[in-house]
């Protein structure tokens, strides 16, 4: 079986195996084994990918396979992957792996929990390997719908409200997206050829600009809802705050990237003229997201809400980089996807572990945790520093690249947007350092906290894996950057080429 299909097959088999598990012990062992296999497969994929590239294979997508599914509609199960996809797959594999360990002590309905969690991951993997918009959309929805049960059953706080809000908003986004994808299909052969959902084929044709103007906003907003585009981000704080730990990790870490990845790979890549023409409008929204999210985080008292708003801000930066429409900024945006994915997963994992001990997430009720649980606290500081962009950690590489790229756009509009967005770095420092100060330092506020224990072995597995990722990207960004850059060139040429005539007409 080809290496890409394995990414869907392994989790599916894991789900079937869990169905026959008898208790929590077996359930989590099966999940751990399955997701370890998935991680190994991801490593295999990276090696195989580099081998192919070094052997001189310059195709846009490697490991392509196409099986016809609905013949008369020309719907295919078409898979293939480029450097960006490889990076996203690796990210997903790491996060679902750590997510399983972070849910090690799930008591209530463990089988159902792990099944839903892994179905969610299956959807994500399937999305990243798909080249056919139909299957891509199918996997996209598969990734969204288990969230309802995951938050509704195993969540905390106003979980029923949050679960419903999150599901309906995300499915609303995908509903709008569906119209955009159907539009792409019917305009995929303007010269009378066979209609297709295949991304590579659609990229070759020139879609009429009127059609692009109609379908680009639908597609971009459809994906943007998942990427926390202002004003459609409101599901994110509630959803993340109510979700159980592993789900927050996976959702903020990977699922939100599905949105920005799709906005880039489908909306901007396939409708480049409209992307150039309309980028200014979405840039305004995105800049608002970035700053609004950061200010939102300052105001929160609940650890999960702080991190959820911070995710809105950081995911806003991803879209911000994408909409700057030059190579450097987009390169940064994609590094930010990976960097933020790992970092926020680490945050949510740590919050889950702290909450499991103190039974509160309100920062003012805690204090001095560094003294009782040094390992978790140190890890929290590392995550925080990565989040505010300390050099040597992944956040710096990503944000630096985004803003360097953004400054290459030298007209007033882009300058102002860049300056506003860049101010979020300062605000990020405010809320991160404030939390670190209150939470980890100072006196211990509650006598019960003296008896708290530090991380257990399975928690350490999760935390260390993620820290290695953050530091690795921070110190050796070229590895990731090279992986992305090679694949970015053809896409960027496509988008920038389309923008040249259009840009001169738009004067701001």
């Amino acid at each position: 079986m080809d290496i890409l299909t394995l990414f869907v097959v392994i989790p599916t088999l894991t789900v079937f195996a869990i169905m026959f598990a008898k208790n929590l012990e077996q359930t989590r062992m099966i999940s751990a084994v399955g997701m370890t296999a998935q991680l190994i497969n991801a490593v295999r994929l990276i090696i195989a990918y580099y081998d192919e590239r070094n052997a001189g294979n310059t195709a846009d997508f490697l490991f392509q396979k196409t099986y016809v599914w609905f013949d008369s509609l020309n719907i295919e199960y078409a898979i293939g992957i480029d450097g960006i996809g490889v990076a996203m797959i690796a990210l997903t594999a790491v996060i679902i792996f750590t997510g399983v360990f972070a849910s090690w002590t799930m008591e209530d309905l463990p089988k159902e929990f792990f099944i839903s969690l892994i179905i969610l991951a299956t959807g994500v993997f399937g999305f990243f390997i798909s080249l056919d918009l139909f299957t891509m959309f199918l996997f996209y929805e598969v990734a969204v719908i288990p969230m309802y049960l995951l938050i509704g059953i195993w969540g905390s706080g106003p979980k029923e409200y949050s679960a419903m809000k999150l599901t309906l908003m995300l499915m609303g986004g995908s509903a709008v997206l569906m119209v955009g994808l159907i539009g792409l299909y019917f305009y995929s052969a303007p010269d009378g050829g066979e209609l297709t959902f295949n991304v590579i084929e659609i990229a070759k044709v020139h879609m009429p600009i009127e059609a692009q103007r109609f379908f680009f906003p639908l597609t971009f907003v459809g994906f943007g809802v998942l990427g926390a585009l202002f004003p459609f981000h409101t599901w994110s704080p509630d959803g993340h705050a109510s979700a159980p730990t592993a789900v927050s990790m996976l959702h903020a870490g990977v699922l939100m990237k599905l949105g920005s990845y799709g906005a880039f790979r489908v909306a901007m890549y396939l409708m480049p003229e409209a992307a150039n023409e309309m980028s200014w409008f979405f840039l305004i929204l995105v800049t608002v997201s970035v700053v609004y999210g950061a200010f939102g985080a300052v105001m929160q008292k609940d650890l999960k809400y702080i991190n959820a708003y911070s995710s809105v801000s950081h995911c806003g930066l991803i879209l911000f980089g994408l909409l700057m429409l030059n190579k450097t900024a987009i390169d940064g945006a994609i590094i930010q996807m990976i960097s933020h994915g790992i970092m926020t997963a680490l945050f949510f994992a740590l919050i889950g572990m702290i909450y499991g001990r103190t039974h509160t997430r309100l920062i003012h009720e805690m204090g001095g945790l560094l003294k009782v649980m040094p390992f978790l606290s140190a890890a929290y500081v590392i995550a925080g520093l990565a989040s505010l962009g300390l050099p040597g950690l992944s956040g710096f590489v990503a944000e630096m690249t985004i803003f360097v790229g953004a400054f290459q756009q030298n007209d007033l509009f882009h300058r102002v947007a860049t300056v506003i967005a860049a101010s979020s770095i300062v605000i990020t420092a405010v809320y991160i350092l404030r939390v670190v100060g209150i939470l980890l330092q100072g006196p211990i506020k509650n006598d019960k906290y003296f008896k708290l224990s530090d991380a257990t072995w399975f928690e350490r597995v999760a935390v260390i894996t993620l820290i290695v990722g953050i530091a690795g990207i921070g110190m050796f960004p070229y590895f990731l950057s090279d992986l992305i850059m090679d694949s970015l060139h053809p896409i960027m040429d496509h988008i920038i080429e389309a923008g040249k005539p259009a840009l001169s007409q738009v004067s701001l």
């Binding site: 599914w69 609905f70 013949d71 008369s72 509609l73 719907i75 139909f134 199918l138 996997f139 929805e141 598969v142 719908i145 309802y148 049960l149 509704g152 059953i153 979980k159 029923e160 679960a163 419903m164 599901t167 309906l168 499915m171 609303g172 509903a175 709008v176 569906m178 119209v179 159907i182 539009g183 299909y185 019917f186 109609f214 639908l218």
Partner: protein
């Protein structure tokens, strides 16, 4: 007329034979043996369903009154499968002591209406169409009033017969105008003589109004909720699935074949009514607490989605309608099957009775969840494919705004379907419905429905098979 020509009506003939078998069993079985009527009826019908699957030549008989081709045969088979599932689900219900005096009627009436639907779908002129339609409608009123002792059931029967009489009247008036202006009732002759004069336009409007009654399209839907609530669960599922699918099939065929030149008229009507039907059906469904009423209103919205396939007038739409009907039959019968199973054992029919159902009856809850996801159009279950292709069919003819409105409505429908999922999986309940073992008939029917829900979408050959025979304007 040669024997081969008679055999063109094979589907209807085997149904008549099945009906006669049930009738004979009813006469000759007595005392304790009477319960044997149930397996005999279900067995006879199962054989009829299988026989109808064998390939059959196309042809026209009775001078063009009756015609059959592969597409119409597929449509009849779709209906047969649905009825078979209902028959299997009905076994435990009819075996209950209070139904002892009336077991065979249920089968007799349903098979009779099914014969009517067969003739309706195969009709080549408006006379045969009307006869089939009435044969398919009038006995259903007796079915709706099946629980004779219950007031609501009797009320449902009366409501159904009165409103369908009215709609038939309107329909007939339209047909009389068609005959008056073209001088013919044969489909192909009417289509050739069609001139789109004002009177003929009026005829189309009357014809459509009559059909909208049967399809319960808003604003012709007022009978639906009361009848659905009053009738026994299985009759409700029959009404909401089978009669609707049959009416949609013939409605589509007649629009495409007889009135293709009036498309400017009927596409506008359909455009408006699709939006109204989907939106209002959804809004009413949100407020329902009774599961039967809930599924009734959601089925109004689903009928609106079927119109999306018709409005474009293209072959893809026809395929999508038949395909969607097949999926809809499986999904809705699975949902109704669970409702019927619970109502049979506990008598509970309200949504908050379902609180905490997953903890006591996990399998039933899973079936219900899959069925609801399929109705809402969530992948990977088949409903997703059905809806997606309906939207594509409408988009193919350029109705992107309509598709957008419909798609946003699917989110509203997702909300209320999730309410049921929430009740079963999330809500806590001190006194949930206790665990019970459903009998084998229910289980067979539910397993078959679930297999259908999963397989019809993923296996593309079913779509391709239907698509090979469908046609557009």
């Amino acid at each position: 007329m040669s024997f081969e020509q008679v055999l063109l009506m094979r589907n209807e003939l085997v149904l008549v034979i099945a009906m006669l078998i049930v009738l004979a069993a009813e006469i000759f079985l007595s005392g304790n043996n009477r319960k044997l009527v149930i397996p005999i009826a279900v067995g006879a019908f199962a054989i009829a369903t299988i026989i109808a699957w064998f390939p059959q030549p196309e042809g026209v008989i009775f001078g063009g009154m009756y015609q059959t081709d592969t597409l119409r045969q597929i449509m009849k088979n779709v209906l047969n499968i649905g009825v078979l599932l209902i028959f299997i689900q009905s076994m435990p219900w009819l075996r209950k002591p209070e139904q002892n005096f009336q077991m065979s009627e249920f089968y007799l009436i349903i098979i009779a209406t099914l014969i009517g639907m067969g003739f309706m779908i195969s009709s080549g002129d408006f006379l045969m169409f009307y006869l089939g339609l009435e044969t398919a409608t009038i006995p259903v009123a007796a079915l709706a009033a099946y629980d004779k002792g219950k007031r609501k059931s009797a009320e449902a029967g009366i409501k159904l017969i009165l409103s369908s009489a009215l709609s038939s009247g309107i329909l007939l008036y339209g047909l009389s105008m068609i005959y008056g202006t073209t001088g013919s009732i044969y489909f192909h002759e009417v289509a050739n003589a069609w001139g789109n004069t004002p009177l003929q336009m009026l005829a189309v409007v009357f014809f459509m109004s009559g059909m909208f009654f049967k399809l319960s399209i808003v604003p012709f839907h007022f009978w639906t909720a009361d009848v659905y609530e009053g009738a026994p669960v299985l009759v409700t599922s029959y009404l909401s699935v089978i009669s609707k699918a049959a009416a949609a099939f013939i409605f589509m065929i007649i629009l495409f074949k007889v009135f293709p030149t009036s498309i400017e008229l009927w596409k506008n009507v359909l455009y408006a009514l699709t939006i109204i039907t989907i939106t209002l059906g959804n809004i009413f469904a949100i407020r329902q607490k009774n599961m039967k009423r809930f599924l009734a209103f959601s089925s109004i919205a689903q009928a609106g989605f079927i119109l999306l396939g018709i409005i474009g007038g293209n072959a893809m739409g026809m395929t999508a309608v038949v395909y969607f009907a097949l999926i809809y039959i499986f999904s809705n019968l699975a949902a109704f099957g669970v409702v019927a199973a619970i109502s049979n054992v506990t008598g509970k029919e309200y949504m908050n009775d379902y609180d905490g159902l997953y903890r006591t009856n996990p399998k039933l809850s899973l079936v219900m969840m899959l069925a609801l996801f399929s109705l809402a159009g969530i992948p990977p279950v088949a409903g997703f494919f059905g809806k997606f292709f309906l939207f594509m069919a409408a988009a193919k003819s350029g109705y992107y705004i309509l598709v957008l409105i419909a798609v946003i409505n699917t989110i509203v429908s997702l909300y209320y379907y999730l309410l049921v999922v929430k009740a079963m999986f999330v809500n806590k309940n001190e006194h949930p419905i206790a665990w019970f073992k459903s009998d084998w008939a229910t289980r067979i029917a539910l397993i078959a429905s679930v297999l259908g829900i999963i397989a019809v979408g993923l296996i593309s050959h079913i779509w391709e098979y239907i698509n090979a025979f469908s046609f557009g304007i």
